[in-house]
């Protein structure tokens, strides 16, 4: 059995934030989980996928995308089973259509939506602040600062969700999800039998046709008023210290602020309002805090969500407190913070002197070669890129060809010496933007997408491309796994671990043909000569064509064969 489930109450474990979320969910009696992987959320799904084999009455699936996953979790919660879905920040964009209306119809059993944001774009194409999704949808939100808080908040989120009959957003960032710290676990919920819920029909609740939706919007706004009272009284929103200066803080920055207060010896001068229940924001608590402070610094990564809240509260209550933060230039609106930066901002905001530690003179350090992440030696994607490149060169189409790309390891094909990634927006954009380039230019268009991304967001734009007679070549790089995020399963994979042997297999070539693409070949990119011959006719013409380059990820192959 996995140590995460054998641990007894009060036992101390060294857990990753994401592991703590899983433990918290199991303490809270999670029954149904569904997710599509994405860094920094991936470990949550990986663990639940593994643990469902050990816990009777826990179901988890990797769905084909975040929208599907959220729908699975929503229906489970409507049927009276506690559910969870987790995703990276941009995954919530995919599921946003569900989110916005799910907020209207709500849930019966508790439902937790984990959104793992990625300030500084460690593994992402943007650093959007998903706290605005809570505001946008009108859903309650909790923001843990540490793995221990992540565990407790996840378990609590189910209760809060049931109280309000709304899903609850649990918003982490990379530095919470991938922090590892000591967690004292609670009691695991009982997992002794298969558990089914029951869906009670209620047309005026679950079917938001306009007449229903109008009513449900008002219900949602009423619940937000109720939630604000809960936020005001929440034990996740705490105050420390005393003095005429104040700091309002949430998320991982809580740690940086509390360390700054210790290290600058400010406990008698600066009060801290630490917020964990941040949507709706606790207006009463913020008002009391502002009243007692001359100057308040708001410390939060990315957007000025709490800063705007503090200003709104001050304006509503006619308070003259000076609010500092992003608008005042004390802290930036981009990238994650680091503790030193927060210390300097605190010192500057309150006119204290602070000398940050300095490195010694380093003028003697030579120029160092960069070490960008790269495709592994022996990776099949390298071979596929080489095959396509050589054929295009032989056809005289290099380097005019446009290469739209997609989200996965193969995005690293942007770097020299491959340099075959020219345009990228989001999951599935390789197909839709290839269509756009084929309409807008006379250049040849060859786009790249992975197997998992194809099932996530590639099917619908390919159908559109067939119907609208777009002219491009789509290369599906089928490495039989979701490699980038830690080798999660894909519906098309042949190479699979024993526990997935009984799953049906969806053949990519059959899917592509069924969608109406007539020029289709499957190649083994390691057999270069044969592969080049097979793709040449497709690249020599301009009709829509699909090349499936099939060879397992070498790391995945090694992992499966070891089992």
């Amino acid at each position: 059995m996995h140590p995460l489930i054998t641990a007894k109450a009060k036992q101390k474990l060294l857990l990753l934030g994401n592991e703590a979320i899983v433990r918290g969910a199991l303490e809270g009696g999670l029954r149904v989980g569904a997710a599509y992987p994405g860094t920094p959320s991936s470990e949550i799904g990986n663990l639940l996928f593994q643990l469902q084999r050990e816990l009777l009455g826990l179901y988890f699936e990797f769905s084909t995308n975040e929208k599907v996953a959220m729908e699975v979790a929503a229906a489970a919660a409507a049927s009276g089973l506690r559910s969870l879905t987790c995703m990276k920040h941009v995954g919530l964009n995919v599921a946003a259509d569900v989110l916005m209306t799910l907020a209207y119809i709500g849930v019966k059993a508790g439902m937790v939506i984990v959104t793992a944001d990625d300030p500084s774009c460690h593994s992402s194409q943007n650093e959007q602040d998903n706290r605005y999704y809570a505001k946008f949808s009108g859903l309650p939100m909790l923001e843990p600062a540490t793995p221990e808080e992540a565990r407790q908040m996840t378990a609590y989120a189910f209760e809060l969700s049931e109280k309000l009959e709304l899903p609850v957003l649990l918003r982490t960032t990379t530095r919470v999800s991938h922090a590892r710290a000591v967690v004292e676990v609670g009691d695991l919920a009982p997992y002794q039998e298969e558990t089914k819920g029951r869906f009670e029909k209620d047309l005026r609740r679950w079917v938001p046709v306009p007449a229903v939706a109008r009513g449900r919007h008002q219900v949602l706004l009423e619940k937000m008023r109720e939630a604000m009272v809960l936020a005001d009284g929440s034990s996740w929103n705490r105050r420390y210290g005393k003095g005429r200066y104040g700091i309002i803080v949430s998320g991982v920055a809580v740690n940086y602020v509390l360390d700054a207060v210790d290290e600058l010896d400010l406990a008698e001068k600066v009060q801290v309002l630490r917020l964990g229940f941040t949507h709706p924001y606790p207006a009463g608590l913020i008002a009391e805090f502002l009243k007692e402070c001359e100057t308040v610094l708001v410390v939060e990564e990315l957007e000025p969500y709490l800063e705007e809240a503090a200003r709104a509260v001050a304006q509503e209550r006619g308070l003259k407190t000076t609010v500092l933060g992003k608008a005042s230039g004390h802290l930036p609106r981009f990238f994650e913070f680091d503790p030193g930066q927060v210390k300097e901002a605190v010192a500057r905001a309150f006119g204290l002197s602070y000398q940050p530690p300095k490195p010694p003179s380093l003028t003697w350090v030579p120029e160092l070669p960069p070490r960008p992440p790269t495709l592994c030696p022996g990776c099949p994607h390298r071979e596929t890129y080489q095959v396509i490149k050589e054929v295009l060169e032989e056809l005289g189409e290099w380097p005019e060809t446009i290469f739209p790309t997609d989200i996965g390891c193969y995005t690293l094909g942007l770097l020299p010496p491959i340099q075959m990634a020219d345009y990228l927006i989001c999951m599935g954009s390789s197909v839709g933007t290839a269509a756009g380039f084929s309409v807008a230019t006379n250049q040849r268009v060859v786009s790249f997408i992975g197997d998992s991304t194809f099932f996530h967001a590639g099917l619908s734009p390919l159908a559109s491309a067939v119907y609208n007679r777009h002219r491009f070549t789509l290369v599906i790089m089928d490495n039989e796994t979701t490699a980038m995020t830690g080798h999660q399963p894909v519906p098309s994979q042949e190479l699979r671990p024993p526990e997935l042997e009984d799953r049906p297999r969806i053949d990519i070539e059959a899917v592509v043909r069924a969608l109406g693409v007539s020029h289709v070949v499957t190649i083994n990119p390691y057999r270069k000569k044969e592969a080049k011959e097979a793709v040449r006719p497709l690249l020599a013409q301009k009709e829509l064509a699909v090349i499936i380059a099939k060879a397992p990820c070498i790391l995945y192959r090694a992992r499966v064969s070891k089992k």
Partner: protein
């Protein structure tokens, strides 16, 4: 206990996550507060990897400019790259065996001659321990034990409030059984580099 900020840097695939897991478990079992921040995902694909580990009454699991008390380098260029996070008193523990970046193999960048910078490193900082980590790991039985050589070297400095036995016990529980023997040897080899110097 005294606060300690330990910055471990290296290259994806060098086992830096296991290094920090073992160190974290040692701290947990000794009842010393510990928090760390790890790198997962895209950056692991042969890129620069770092783990920030803080011991004692520190909440922030990230180490800012000039704040590292110890810098553990798994690779010499990565050690040099991380020097902005050190100060005069930082203790440096580093392997000197290079891992050549793909970009250098592709002829798009050059890997510096290390003799001069490593000499300057020794002049600049009070305590610098350099060792051929990969060579020591291979001698212990597997090149993959470089991370445990580095752990041994860190333990041998005597900077941490843990007994050698604590580390050996944690290795026995966290390393896969068939690699335990090689890893115990690797730890001893690293420990000998720094202990009593």
């Amino acid at each position: 206990m005294e606060k300690k900020r330990i910055l471990a840097v290296g290259v994806g695939g060098q086992g830096i996550l296991l290094f920090s897991r073992i160190l974290g478990e040692v701290a947990l079992r000794a009842g010393v507060p510990v928090a760390m921040s790890e790198v997962h995902g895209m950056a692991q694909r042969g890129g620069v990897v770092e783990t920030n580990i803080v011991l004692g009454a520190i909440r922030s699991p990230l180490i800012s400019q000039g704040e590292a008390d110890v810098l553990v380098g798994f690779e010499p260029v990565e050690t040099l790259r991380a020097l902005g996070r050190t100060n005069q008193k930082t203790v440096i523990v580093s392997s000197t065996d290079p891992v050549i970046p793909q970009i250098v193999k592709d002829g798009l960048a050059t890997y510096p001659d290390l003799a001069e910078p490593l000499a300057r490193l020794k002049e600049t900082f009070d305590r610098v321990y350099l060792f051929a980590g990969e060579k020591l790991a291979k001698e212990a039985g597997t090149a993959r034990a470089l991370n445990v050589v580095a752990l041994g070297a860190l333990a041998g400095t005597g900077l941490l409030p843990f007994a050698k036995e604590d580390f050996l016990n944690a290795i026995k529980t966290l390393v896969k059984p068939r690699f335990v023997e090689a890893n115990l040897k690797a730890f001893e080899a690293g420990f000998a580099v720094t202990a009593g110097v």
